[in-house]
Structure formats: structure tokens, C-alpha cells
Point group: C2
């Protein structure tokens, strides 16, 4: 808190990039965002990474958006309201439109589940967007699947990505990655805003990854509230949600048996991986090491790291774990935010120590991104080629 205040004070004294940018007119090279609804010209992005909105609200007193440090919205010649953001990171950001005290989805954007609601998000095409682009390559399928979970006593909704050739050869069996979303998100996240299918299709077309099945569950299974309440503001998925035992039961007792019975999997430990982002990363480093008979590959994206001191039986760990992959957006590192230095130790140092201890541990830093989907799309791109290598 002290650091933050000092930084703000410094920026204010020196006239930092933030306040400076707000007084200059934005660069006038706006283009419609790829996250818009079909045919919609707004929101638009420009080469600075700003996003400009157009909202029709003829009788409104004030219009705005939830991005901090945005310009004031004002009426244009056509009577619609216009406003724009500060320069944002490339990639994908959730937001809402504010109209006279209401916070509503932008009628021009497509909708995504995040921040614990279906609502708007905007995509600013990244320089390296090619790896998650829809191309004319062989495509896998994203399958919407319902199965009955005994431990949660309900029919649950999951997505399963099957690689392009899955239906071609009924004798081939595949490894499986269980891939989890973040807090306030759900099982739709990796398939929609994560572009999991297109990332895998492109990696496979380039021969960069082995084909495997990806299973996406909803990790927000409500479990018993921990006796020691989680500290407020402990990051996404807080509010006492950090007890993962109910989800642990679902994945190990219901989901894995269902997938192995209904898809052509290689169902042994060497061919099963778990990974997740943010809260999903915490779930992964909580659940996978506790079930080393089931998982051999572990991926934690912006969700902390695994310290050598947390591994009770290093010999067993090295024998059973084929990969520990830890990643972060560069802007998260060294901060006190989720997964930064203050969150279970410096993730880069922890991962280096794992490697020194003889674990196949890999650290990836996504350039110029924070706690956001571009970090996680890139993490999947880096993680997938390391899976199931023998």
C-alpha cells in the first residue's frame, strides 16, 4: 500500500506517462475490435491500445465505462456518447458500460463469463495474435458434455476439446489435460476467451504439440467453508472459496472416471496432466501433488508456484512428476498481487530451485502482460508442446 502511494505521488510530481497521455488526443487510427458483435463498428482500438466506445443513450446524464482512467464520455455530432480508455495491454479485458448509475453490458460487444457475470469484454489484437487465430487448418472439436457427478449430486456441464483426427481412427487413444479457469470464471472461459481450440489446432498443424484431449470443468464447486476465513482481497475466487476439497472430489472421483469411460483416453498417470490459471492454478498445485498416482504434468499460470520446501518426498516427486510449468505475465512479477512476489515466494526463484533440485521445471514470462487472458493463451502455447513427450 505504501509502495503504491509513493508511486502515485511520483507520477503526479513528474507528470508520468499516464497523466501525460490523458491530455493528448489519441492517435486516430481506430479499427473495430474483433470482439464486437457481427456488423458492429464499435468498440474500436487504436495503435496505442486505447479502446473507444460509442453508446446511444439520448436522454442520459452521464455515460462511462468501468476501465479506470478513461476519458470522460461526451456526445458526438450524431447524438451518441463517445469515450476512450487509457492505453491498455494487448489482449482481452472484461468491462461494463455505465449509464446514469447502471452498470450494463455494452450492446455492441460479444459476451463472456468473467468477473462472476456474463458481460462485455474487448479484444485488442496482440502483435503475436497469429498463434490464436482461426486458420484453414484441420480443426478439433469443442464438445459440450453433460455428466452426472455423484459427489456433487448433480448433472454437470463441461467442455471437451478433441484433436482434429480424433474421429478418424477409432483405435487411437489420447492423453488428457484437465484445464481450469480462474476465479469468477467458469468452464466456458478456456474455450471462448482462451481460444484453446484454435491454439491447439495451430500448434498441431505446425507439428509443435502431441495431440491430446482437453477437459474443462467448472472449478467453482462450493465446498465447506474453511474454519479460518480467507483474508479479504486475497485475489480472484476469494470470499472463502479457497477450500478446494469439493472440486477435488469432483475431478478425482467423478470427472476422471467419466472421461476415461467415455473418451478414448490413455488413462494411466504418465498421460494425465492438470493445469489452470489464477484460482485454477492454485487448484492445480493443491490437487495434482496430492494425487501423484493420477497426474504427471502440472501447469500453474499466474497462480503461484511450487516451493521445494513444500515437497515432502522429493524422490517420489521427481519420479512421478514429468513437468512443473509455472508462468506469469511480466507485469505481475515483483508485485504484491496474486502470484507476485508476495504470494508463496518469488515464482521464478521457486521454479529455479525446483530445477536445481532435479525436477523438470520450466518458468515462462509473458511479455508486457498482467493478470489477463493474453498471459494465459501464451502460457498454453508454451505449455502444450512440453506435454506427454514420450
Amino acid at each position: 500500500m505504501k509502495t503504491k502511494l509513493s508511486l502515485l505521488a511520483l507520477v503526479s510530481i513528474l507528470g508520468g506517462p499516464l497523466s501525460g497521455a490523458e491530455t493528448n488526443a489519441p492517435t486516430n487510427d481506430w479499427k473495430p475490435c474483433p470482439s464486437n458483435q457481427a456488423g458492429k463498428q464499435y468498440p474500436q482500438y487504436n495503435s496505442e491500445g486505447r479502446v473507444k466506445f460509442r453508446i446511444v443513450a439520448s436522454e442520459a446524464r452521464s455515460v462511462g465505462c468501468t476501465f479506470r482512467d478513461s476519458s470522460e464520455f461526451s456526445k458526438g455530432e450524431d447524438g451518441a456518447w463517445y469515450g476512450y480508455t487509457r492505453p491498455l495491454d494487448e489482449g482481452f479485458h472484461y468491462y461494463a458500460i455505465k449509464i446514469d448509475g447502471a452498470e450494463v453490458p455494452d450492446p455492441n460487444s460479444r459476451y463472456f463469463y468473467g468477473s462472476s457475470r456474463w458481460g462485455s469484454a474487448v479484444e485488442i489484437p496482440a502483435r503475436d495474435r497469429d498463434f490464436y487465430a482461426l486458420k484453414n487448418v484441420p480443426h478439433g472439436q469443442l464438445r459440450e458434455v453433460y455428466y452426472f457427478s455423484k459427489s456433487s449430486d448433480k448433472t454437470r456441464h463441461i467442455y471437451v476439446y478433441t484433436p482434429p483426427d480424433y474421429d478418424k481412427d477409432a483405435s487411437q487413444r489420447y492423453p488428457v489435460l484437465y484445464l481450469q479457469h480462474g476465479g469468477g470464471e467458469d468452464e466456458t472461459g478456456w474455450g471462448r476467451q482462451g481460444h484453446t481450440g484454435w491454439i491447439m489446432d495451430n500448434l498441431l498443424a505446425e507439428g509443435k504439440s502431441k495431440p491430446f484431449i482437453i477437459v474443462m470443468e467448472n472449478g467453482g464447486v462450493s465446498g465447506p467453508r474453511p474454519t479460518n476465513a480467507t483474508p479479504a482481497g486475497a485475489g480472484p475466487g476469494a470470499r472463502g472459496a479457497f477450500n478446494f476439497s469439493a472440486f477435488e472430489k469432483v475431478i478425482t472421483e467423478d470427472l476422471i472416471p467419466y472421461i476415461d469411460a467415455n473418451f478414448r483416453t490413455l488413462s494411466d498417470q504418465p498421460h494425465r496432466a492438470m493445469a489452470g490459471l489464477s484460482m485454477g492454478g492454485m487448484q492445480t498445485r493443491s490437487i495434482a501433488p496430492a494425487h501423484l498416482d493420477k497426474f504427471s504434468h502440472i501447469g500453474v499460470f499466474s497462480g503461484g508456484s511450487i516451493a521445494v520446501t513444500n515437497i515432502t518426498d522429493m524422490a517420489k516427486f521427481k519420479e512421478q512428476v514429468k513437468l512443473v510449468f509455472i508462468s506469469y505475465g511480466s507485469r505481475e512479477l515483483g508485485t504484491n498481487r496474486v502470484g507476485g512476489r508476495g504470494f508463496g515466494g518469488d515464482p521464478k526463484e521457486n521454479t529455479a530451485a525446483l530445477k536445481t533440485a532435479g525436477v523438470n521445471a520450466v518458468f515462462y514470462e509473458s511479455p508486457d502482460t498482467a493478470h489477463e487472458w493474453l498471459s494465459w493463451r501464451r502460457s498454453l502455447r508454451e505449455f502444450a508442446p512440453l506435454l506427454f513427450k514420450d
Copy 2:
């Protein structure tokens, strides 16, 4: 127009049901709608079929919704705005919220593609909702599939429903139904608001239908504009969109070969059906009869009918067409609206005449519904058991 005015005048003089209902307080048995976002208490429905909204907009001058004849919205004790609709038909209805001249999605509802936009819709549980409920029965999969279409020179996005046992026995092959959405909707419609998967899962669990694959494409393929412009107000999908030749090419030249090459289909004419709702029904009765070498079963839901006089070779038609299924919501019949009496002749009479001519023609009337999804869910429930009977 004349008829409408007279009816309105009459209602006004006699104090008809519409104006009467508006002066009485709505029945106070409100329950959250099943179409709400998880955890949202509003919108709510009551036993009269009214829907009540709650919108937080502290500084707004006026709030409302797009349902005609709704109550005025006013601020409740909690400072939020409340308002409710007239009694609506059971089932599914698109709407938007109005805030000071803006038309936006309701932040409390889930979102659907219809009326040519992603936006809000509300579900009022129907008395017969059991047939489209999610149950603990074997479930098929709804698969998101991309394929390259030469005729439209682009990668296209479709959904494919595969029945519950599809992955169990690699030797079994299945018939295929091509199922089209309405104007202003897209390939997501039948899977989301149509509940196609749950309807089929339930029919199959009860042994009421043969298992078959269902393919859902986007029928809004832009084709050459017809030289005679379509009359304005000709129904959903108007604006010159009634030339289906581009979509006809996509389905017959690209989609069917792709599906037959990539799914375990029975690829002969007796095992291929086409059906659609509204614009999709018009596409069906335009495309299927022109390709009787490809389609044997035809379903038209609220999209007109097939007159005996439109069939040039009745002997051939009777030989090749195993079923003509025509359906309507009861409130559509006898009106001048899409598919009503003024739209290619009375559909019930046309279908009876087909039957007299020796065609296996079936007419279904959905009770107490109009041009809306409950009519079409029921139509699928009635249509599916008649398909591929030998």
C-alpha cells in the same frame, strides 16, 4: 390493418382483457426465471406469465423494457427500478432494457443470439417444460465444429449434435437432420434457446425417437440480391435476404460432403432430413424439394407450407419424400403474419391436401403459442419421432 384497428377499438370500448389486466395488481407469486444468470433473483415470472424486472440505475430518469404494454418502471424502496410485463405466452422471449434512451442487455439475464443481436431473453417455464428439461439420462454431445466451405470461401462455424451412444460403437452409422434457425438468429439458436440436445436426449431415453445426428449451420449466407427487392416487412430475415441460393450451395456442395466425410453418417437420401423454423422453414421448403436426390424428410416450423399446386411431379415427390411435417403456433394461424393464412395459403389446408394427394403429410399446432421458441421446441419434439422410421 383495418382488422387490427377495429379490434383495438372494440377492446377499448368493452374494457377488454388487456386494459383490464393493466389496472389490477399482478399476482404476487414471483419466482426467478430459469434464464437468469447464476445467482440472480431477477427477472422473475408469476403465474399469470408476467415478467418482473429489477434494474439498478440510481441516476436514471426513466427505465423500461422492450415488451409492449409493460407497466411503467418505478423506483422501489431499495432505490432500484421495478416494472413488469403484460401476461406473456409461456416459453422464451427476446427483450432489452431501456435506460434513458439506451437499449441494452439486462445485466441479470443470460444472452442469446436473436433479433440480429446477442442480448437478453427471458424464459417462462411452460406447463409441458419437462420435455426440454435437463435430466439424469444419457446425454448426447453438442459439438462446435469448424470446416472450410469452398463456395463461400471461408471457414464456417457449425454445431453438430451427436446422440448419446455415438462414441460407444464405432461401427454404427446414423441418419442426419439438417436443422435451421430463423431470421435474425444463427447457428447457436437450436442448441441454446432451442434446447435441441435435451429434447433429443429425453426422447431417446423414452425410446420415442431413432438416434440421429443433427447439424446446425448459419443460414444467413449473403447471396446476390434478388432483382425484385423483397417487400419491406415481409417477416424475419427480410431486407433482400430471401434469396437462398448462396446458402443452398453451402449446404449441398460443402456442408453435406463435410458431414458425411467426418461423421459416421448413413449418407443416402432415405437417411437425410432437412427442417427449419421461420426463415429456416422457408429455406427448407425451397432447398429440399429442389434436391430430392438428397433429402427424404422435410420439416417446416412456422415457415409456410407446401401446396399441392407447387409440386410439378407428384409421382416423383411421393416416391422420394417420406415425410412432410408442417407446424405452427396456434396464435399464428388465421393471421396475416409470417406463416399465417396470407403466407402461401392456409398451412393446415395445404397439408391436408398433400395428404389427400397421397403424401405422408403431418400438421402440428402448438397450443397457445405464437411465432416463438416454445412452438419450435414442441415442433422438434413432434417431428423427431416421425423421422427415419425404417
